[in-house]
């Protein structure tokens, strides 16, 4: 019996009848006729070493589920990892809307066919602007690291200067991203990245060091607030005044979920606010739920320096309609190729929709409450952990959500501790060994609204046992 040709469900025209009809129509006898422009020596005729297809959907699903079952996850285990990807409660409506096929599978249409998408984008702008007390923003970047990088590049263009100052204790993953971004093939375009020292006691930036490094060559000073290590910076206004007095931009990287209870950076002097949307309704997904944002007031000097698309309200032909447009596209490489502001392209637009729905559901009260719960839970956990013998908190500062636990007196490495925690179905805090100088034996613990008191108590109980 002749082997039957496979008809693939995702490839309708693999159906032999249709295929023959179409091949006849275009005058091709076999597949290689379609590729007659590809010279013989470039044709790859061997069979690709990819396993044969699992044609049935049920079998495929089982196959992948089985592989994924080798993972553990933060629903079954108790998680204290954060570091820019903290675990939060995500309302069901956020998932319902984010996974709508229309939003998931749309792409580059103008705002007629995709009117609803654009409205959701502009509502995202509107709500995030309230959270940040700013006015304008572009679509989001790949992640917070890209947001910092572009915020710095914007500042360099605005000030026509080539040096930026960032905290030594900033997110170490972002450091590498930023350094790559500021580096240039041409010396004249090189942006120098200098690191501001920190106060060993508090974890805040060292103001004296900032003052020493700050001068009129500096395009921007960035602080994270809360810091990557959770530390809250209470001298924002003072720093902002110092920075703007030399004509530099004051960039503040913020965790948006903290802003129901923490002051918006713009109100203590930030001229550019940036961050990652992760906490506003995005899943962990092994790091898939990240998206950078940058936002400022609406002055032309800022607007002209964004690199990505800016969507906003446009003027309708029919009065009373809300319509949306693509603003100042001539900034981008889509219009100007090499001359655009940096480069742009596919970013993380779907996460704008998740964040919009999240903010709309939360409202002012929700944001205040979730911030408060995180504040209390993390404080409770920190205090309890710090009472374990030979365990202490690295810094004395107030903090939000994350804090550094110092195990150096315990004689155990974080790796050893985390391994034993894992045996108790707990993901312990991030091992900071090697991340910064003198942070061996330190771990970054993250406690959010999803961690219950029982979980925290159990963590402490386990740590006590491990460290006995």
């Amino acid at each position: 019996m002749k082997e039957e040709k496979v008809v693939y469900p995702y490839i309708p025209n693999s159906n032999p009848e249709t295929q023959r009809e179409m091949m006849d129509f275009v005058g091709a006898k076999d597949m290689w006729d379609l590729y007659e422009e590809i010279p013989e020596e470039l044709r790859y005729k061997e069979k690709l070493a990819i396993p044969d297809g699992i044609l049935d959907e049920f079998g495929l699903k089982k196959h992948v589920e089985k592989i994924l079952a080798k993972n553990k996850n933060c629903d079954e285990f108790t998680n204290f990892l954060g570091a820019g990807c903290a675990q939060h409660f995500i309302p069901a409506v956020v998932d319902e809307i984010t996974t709508r096929g229309e939003f998931l599978t749309c792409y580059g249409a103008e705002s007629w066919g995709d009117h609803g998408k654009y409205q959701a984008f502009v509502e995202y702008n509107s709500m995030l602007a309230e959270l940040l007390d700013t006015e304008v923003m572009s679509v989001p970047q790949f992640d917070g690291g890209q947001a910092i990088s572009t915020a710095m590049a914007m500042a360099c263009r605005i000030t026509d200067r080539k040096k930026v100052l960032v905290p030594e204790l900033m997110n170490p993953g972002y450091k590498s991203i930023l350094e790559n971004y500021m580096h240039s093939v041409q010396d004249e375009l090189e942006v120098q990245v200098e690191y501001i020292k920190f106060e060993p006691e508090t974890g805040r930036i060292d103001l004296a060091d900032l003052k020493e490094k700050l001068n009129e060559d500096v395009a921007a000073v960035m602080i994270e607030n809360p810091g990557f290590l959770g530390v809250l910076e209470d001298r924002g206004e003072e720093i902002g005044e110092l920075v703007t007095s030399v004509g530099a931009e004051f960039v503040v990287y913020v965790n948006p979920i903290s802003l129901g209870i923490l002051e918006a950076p713009a109100n203590y002097g930030a001229t550019i606010t940036c961050g990652d949307l992760h906490s506003l309704g995005l899943h962990l997904s092994a790091g898939n739920g990240q998206a950078g944002f940058i936002s400022t007031q609406g002055e032309a000097k800022y607007l002209n320096n964004y690199k990505d698309f800016i969507y906003g309200f446009a003027e309708p032909e029919v009065e009373g309609e809300y319509v949306f447009g693509n603003m100042l596209i001539e900034r981008t490489h889509y219009s100007r190729r090499a001359f655009g502001n940096e480069y742009t392209g596919t970013g993380t637009n779907l996460w704008m929709i998740s964040a919009a729905v999240y903010m709309a559901l939360m409202g002012p009260k929700g944001m205040e409450e979730v911030g408060t719960t995180i504040l209390y839970n993390s404080r409770y956990a920190a205090e309890k952990i710090s009472r374990i013998p030979n365990v202490s908190l690295k810094f004395t500062s107030p903090f939000f959500q994350e804090f550094v636990v110092d195990f150096s007196q315990s004689g155990k490495t974080v790796q050893e501790i985390n391994k034993q925690l894992l045996a108790n179905e707990i993901f312990g805090g991030l091992d900071l060994t090697g991340c910064y100088e003198d942070f061996d034996h330190c771990a970054l613990y993250c406690v959010t609204e999803v961690n219950t008191r029982e979980e925290i108590d159990f963590l402490v109980e386990c740590l006590e046992k491990i460290l006995k």
Binding site: I329, E330, S335, R336, R337, A338, F339
Partner: protein, 372 residues
Amino acid sequence: MLIGLIVNPIAGIGGPAGLKGSDSEEIQRLAVSLGSEYRSNEKTKIALSELTEEKDQLMFLTGSGLMGEDVVKSLGFSYQILDEKKERTTSEDTLMLAKIMKEKKVDLIVFSGGDGTARDIYNAIGLSIPCVGIPAGVKIHSAVYANNPKDAGVLIKQYVNQFGESATVDCEVMDIDEEKFRQNIVDAKLYGYLKIPFARNLMQQSKASIKFSEHDLQGIADEIIERMAKKDDNTCYIFGTGGTTHTILEKLGLKGSLLGVDVVFQKNVVIKDGAERDIYEYIRGKDVILILTVIGGQGHIFGRGNQQLSPRVIREIRKENIWIVATADKLYSLHDNLLHVDTSDPDLDEELSGYWRIIVGWHEEIVCQVAV
């Protein structure tokens, strides 16, 4: 909306007879005797036919009879005559009509003709009023004309419908010496610039595109200044004719000539609007860089509007010391993707042909072929 319309009735008459222009009376008579017909009215009609829908909002100010009246009348437009009817028209009439139109503050001047007509309009109004040129002449080296009469009509229509919002670009007015041209010598001069509504649809929105051109010009200037900074202090620089090179001089804080060739040495303009001999004498034996741009509607880098840069001057400079600058827009819109040279020295033309890297902005170049 007030539109000035000037038809040069005799434009183009010399063409079919192989007379390479219609500027003198003698030639006009000769052309008619050789059987040429007056075509510019017909071409104007093709253009203005595009405006039937806008008829109600338009008021034409025009010349009598063949200078415009006949066309607007036949198409049923409202109009007013600015002059008295004449037997024969000369370039004086074009000049006079354009001047009256300027006084009457028309919103747009539409003219049909060739390079000579464009020159007359330029002399009368300069950059004060936007213009649309309907090509009807024999010689069209000026970049102020639309590709064909119909396109001119579309452009006018667009301008009318987006009145107050349309951007404009400055386009070259050029003319060649007809007498020499008849002897197969092209002596094209750059006379100046007219304001033309911006039309080309390279980007979704023209208003945005025009900004790029301005931005590109600044970028080109930055690039040249950066390159100059890396050169020896004893290098002298020749800046060719045209607005693009003029912008660079401006950015250098130097006062050059828009329409001539200037020589710069150690941050001073040492020759302004120089003649061939002066330039040649000055640069002999020196390290020279020539910065030049594409002139006119046909993509020439040599031989149109810059005859001062003669073969011996170019040979003295040497090919590798020539920097060609142009906005990317200009290169994208080249009719056949090619740049042209016509130095009147075939060997040199051959030498200059091939692929060139054209500076189109700061740190960006486009490779373009130069053909003979």
